[in-house]
Chain length 160, copies 2
């Protein structure tokens, strides 16, 4: 039982075309990190509820790449990117494109820090190539997908 | 023989932590693109004169990665990154880190457009994660390496 917060904070970064997400988990950095690289775990939590994730490629290592599809009754949403650096247990840098909506690319940096009580704080920064792209993402309702995904990750981390 | 310019323009992008490089070549996009992905060609032109480039990894494809060392009498300079997208004949998006100087990462997007007379225009944008990082790069004398590299690429393209 933890007394720490599990609120998801999503905010624009001052002066940069970037969004920063801060979230704490009731598990140490090693386990949160593992849930981001082990594809059998990733498919159980990434993205909003009600979507099925099909992975076409997943090489979560420095210089690797990924490609997956989220699908529901309304259609398919395709994503791909590369892993710039996967450095256990506390840092993942990757690129991200939502395929079919132009060529915009995000650079995403996730870091984990250890908190007292076997907990971890995750900070994920997405750098966009324009302020317009950043603001469109913030206006898109993306927080639902992020929050639901992290709730599923809470459940996965609790089920060991 | 061409009447086009081969001036290298290096400029800060207004309002973004980015640098844009514009350069024309006396060769069509396909050949300039090939010289960016074929590692036997890349080692002949990338970087300033007087350095030896040793490639440790080179998978120039969507979701691939690279790692290389530039060396001279004074030392070694190590670089690594991933290829977000390699889309022949006109677009390469990759990440870039100068190893050993913190964890800063650039997102680099290169596009090629066809010009009359069998020529090509290259536009390469490097997106930094801070304005300080961008300004430090601009103040570093990086233009010498960029200009000398593109002069060597001119020579390579002329030697077919």
């Amino acid at each position: 039982m933890s007394t720490g917060t599990r609120e998801t904070i999503i905010e624009a970064v001052d002066g940069l075309p970037a969004v920063r997400i801060t979230r704490e988990f009731d598990a140490p950095p090693e386990r949160v990190f593992d849930a981001h690289v082990d594809v059998d775990k990733v498919v159980r939590w990434l993205g909003p509820r009600g979507l099925t994730m099909t992975v076409q490629r997943w090489d979560a290592e420095t210089g690797g790449g990924y490609r997956y599809v989220h699908a529901d009754d309304r259609g398919e949403y395709r994503f791909f990117g590369s892993f710039h650096e996967v450095r256990s247990p506390d840092r993942i840098v990757q690129t991200f494109t939502f395929e079919g909506f132009g060529d915009s690319v995000c650079l995403e940096t996730m870091t984990l820090t250890e908190l007292p009580g076997g907990r971890a704080r995750l900070v994920a920064t997405s750098l966009f190539d324009s302020f317009e792209g950043r603001d469109a993402m913030l206006a898109s309702g993306m927080e639902t997908g992020v929050e639901e995904g992290y709730e599923k990750l809470d459940e996965l981390l609790a089920s060991r």
